[in-house]
Each structure stands twice: as C-alpha cells, then as structure tokens.
C-alpha cells in the first residue's frame, strides 16, 4: 500500500478547485480532500465569471451526462476548464465528470467537452449495464503497480471508449476503463472519495505527478 510521503509544503501549494455543478457530490469530495490536508475551494459560477485562479480542478461525478453538460455550457465552465488546461493545471474528472471529457455519450445527445477523442457507451455486461460496487483495477504501467490490489468504488452504466488506447491507465477485470489520462487531464471512472485509502492514494499520485 502506498503511503503518504508528501511534505507539508507541497500540500500548501495545492489549491484544488471543485466545480459546483449543483447536482454532484461536491461537499463529499471537499471533505475527503480536506481530511488529508489539501486546500480546496468550491468554484461557483461567480468564481468562473471572475476566472478565479486554482492549481487543480475537479469536475465531480454523479449525474446525467446531458444534464451535467447543459450546466457546464450555461455557466461557461467549459471555457474555464480549457483555461486550466492551457495554464498547465490538472483537470480531474470523476465518474460522469470523467465521461464529459470525451466527445459524446450514448446517454445523451449533448456533446461532451471533446478534450480527448472517444465516447461513452453502455457497459456490455451479461444482464445489466450497471457496474456497481468496489472492485480491484489493473494499472497497466509497471511503475504504477503499487496501486493494484486496491478496491475502488464504481457506480455507472456508461463507460469510456478512448480512441487512443495509450491514454488508458487502468482497467477493471472486465475491461472497463477505470482511469485515463492525457497530459494534465485525468478521467477517473471510479469515485476516489468513496474508495477509502485506495482513493486517496490515487489522488496523491495525481497531485504529486506520479500517475
């Protein structure tokens, strides 16, 4: 199990913005990160208009793809997200927040942000597309093996299909994309805030630039 090796100085440098979509689990993500010493700021529509500065940005999960994208476009969040990427800040999407980073989803006719090439389709399970529960994932890169054998919480029906397979960092045993990455953009299909220490370790890996 990976342990927290970050210094207090590193922690203080990070201000993690959490987009307030009004329909996600913003509060839980905030408390999850703050319990580990991260500084957070819930990014409100007013903050977006002021183009407030943050170091990393989280787009929270739990929501319908079309509903989330509608909110993002209404509030000009799409421009704010692109601005963070241009600045070299990390952008981390969680669950549906990860799905909207792609071009579209079968869940809705609304286009996604298209920051990575790919789309989201219904999971191809035997009986039900619902993939729910805490599952181990396989990190492909040998340098990330320390994250294997940890359980992460999934709750989704649609999953990412990435055009560039090299963007896939980790998959479940049934082949569902668990984590993808392109430059400073991260997509987490699982909920780190509901995955205990395993979730926190992955957040450490992202914030410390190891993942």
């Amino acid at each position: 199990m990976k342990t927290n090796s970050r210094t207090e100085t590193n922690l203080k440098r990070h201000v993690i913005g959490i987009i307030d979509l009004d329909i996600g689990n913003t509060v839980k993500i905030k408390t999850f990160l703050e319990k580990d010493g991260y500084k957070t700021h819930i990014v409100t529509p007013e903050d977006i208009r002021k183009n407030i500065y943050i170091d990393s940005l989280i787009i929270p999960g739990i929501g319908n793809f079309g509903m989330i994208m509608g909110r993002i476009r209404e509030e000009g969040i799409d421009f704010y997200v692109r601005r963070q990427i241009e600045l070299g800040n990390r952008v981390i999407g969680i669950c549906v927040g990860a799905q909207i980073l792609l071009e579209y989803s079968e869940e809705s006719s609304t286009a996604g942000l298209g920051l990575l090439q790919g789309f989201n389709s219904l999971n191809a399970n035997n009986f039900s597309p619902l993939n729910i529960g805490r599952q181990e994932v396989l990190f492909r890169d040998l340098k990330n093996q320390e994250y294997n054998s940890s359980r992460f919480y999934f709750a989704h029906q649609y999953g990412a299909r990435l055009a560039d397979d090299s963007s896939v960092v980790a998959v479940t045993s049934s082949g569902i994309v668990a984590l993808f990455k392109k430059d400073n953009i991260y997509g987490l299909q699982f909920h780190p805030e509901k995955s205990g220490m395993a979730g926190m370790n992955v957040m450490h890996g992202i914030m410390d630039g190891k993942l």
Partner: protein
C-alpha cells in the same frame, strides 16, 4: 457485476432500530457507531433507511453525520416527496437514493434519473412471501419502463425473523420476471446463505439489518460483518 453484502440500518428519530416484518422494532443503538463500524470493516456498501415521522429537513443532521464518518458507498432510502431532498443528500455525499416503485413516484423517479443518471436510483419493491397473490409483476414492469438500473426486493414476511431468505418463492414467483439482477433483503439466517444467494446470477447483492447485529434481551448490539467468511 460485483456482488455485494450490504448492512442496512433503519433509523427512527436518530436511533437505529432492528425491524421484524417491518413492524416490531428492537433498539439497535447509535447509528453513527454502526456506520463507523461498518466503514472500518470496509463493508461493500451501507444502506440507511429513514423511517421517521419528522420532515426530511429535520433528519438532515443525522445523514450529515453519517456521510461525514463514512468512506464507503452509501444508499439512502426515504419517502422522498420532491426532487429537492434527494438532490440535497446526493450533493452531501449520498451515492444512491432508494425509493418505492409506484405510479405515485413515477415522475420523481424519472426526474431523479434525468438529473443524476440511472445508476443513482434504486427502485424498492416490497412483497410478502406469505401472500400467494401479491402482484409484483406490474411493479417490475413499471421498473423496467422507468429504466431503473437496480431494484431492491424486500420480503417483508421474512424481514428480521431469521428463518432464511425465501429462495423458493423468489425462484418461482419473481425470477422469471426479472430483466436484470436485483438486490434482495429479508430473512438471511446463516453465513452460508450469503454465499449461496450471491452465486445466483439474478442477485447482485444481499442486504440485511438484523443479521449484522446480535440481538439479546430486546436490544441489538455486537455488530459484525461477514466479508471474510463469504
């Protein structure tokens, strides 16, 4: 699909209660202690049912406390009347909300799915395996029509009485009408039963309240979880 073992807590006036046939109650202690225990045991999930005569507004504090101390997935069952209450709880950190599948709840369910996605909604169907003519087929059809991703089937007749889940009734009366795996609750008696039930392709998870508490002298205490034995 991952198959789950899910402790279930029934909260009445901020206290945990063990139910029998959803009527007779045995005091089960402080729900925060129970949630803390199941979190520490790394339970697959936890399901909290609010059975209360107060408004949901008054019950928010207990859910805030539960969300604050747990890092495991949390489903909240309650008599939601409008979209505002489940929205508030999901925003707070509840992962899924469970509500009864009925015509009365049709538009609330549709609105929840439209806002939060189908994975965030659990459809509850209560039945009593002691009754022969209970019509759950129409309810299952409504669930399918509403595109609910997972149902929770509760056998009220076996709830809390420790005589085993009525798998015969499930197989004969329900299984053929299921289009997807469901959660079940009602009567689990032994640890072996979890294993058998979870090997059934139509069962995605087993909930229990009374199994996870030892009941003695009218009180429930000594919480346990079975993860390592199943």
């Amino acid at each position: 699909m991952k198959r789950r073992i899910i402790p279930s807590l029934t909260i009445i006036n901020n206290e945990s209660w063990i139910t029998q046939n959803f009527q007779k109650n045995i005091y089960g202690g402080d729900p925060l202690n129970a949630v803390r225990f199941f979190s520490e045991q790394d339970a697959d999930e936890i399901c909290v049912s609010l059975v209360d005569y107060r408004s949901l507004e008054e019950q928010r504090k207990i859910i805030e406390g539960i969300v604050d101390i747990t890092s495991i997935p949390l489903t909240l069952a309650a008599s939601f009347r409008t979209i505002d209450d489940p929205s508030f709880f999901i925003r707070l950190g509840v992962d899924r909300v469970a509500l009864t599948i009925s015509e009365k709840n049709r538009y609330l369910i549709l609105e929840l799915i439209r806002n939060f996605g189908a994975q965030a909604v659990v459809g509850v169907i209560k039945y009593d395996s002691r009754e022969v003519d209970f019509n759950h087929i129409a309810t299952l059809q409504l669930s399918s029509e509403l595109e609910i991703s997972e149902n929770l089937l509760i056998d009220v007749g076996r709830d809390g009485v420790f005589n085993g889940f009525n798998i015969d009734y499930f197989n004969k009366k329900i299984a053929k009408h299921l289009e997807k795996p469901c959660l079940i609750r009602g009567g689990v008696q032994k640890v072996d039963e979890f294993t058998k039930l979870l090997n059934n392709d139509l069962i995605s998870g087993v909930l229990s309240s009374s199994y996870f508490s030892t009941i003695n002298n009218g009180s429930a205490f000594l919480l346990n979880y079975v993860k390592d034995r199943v």
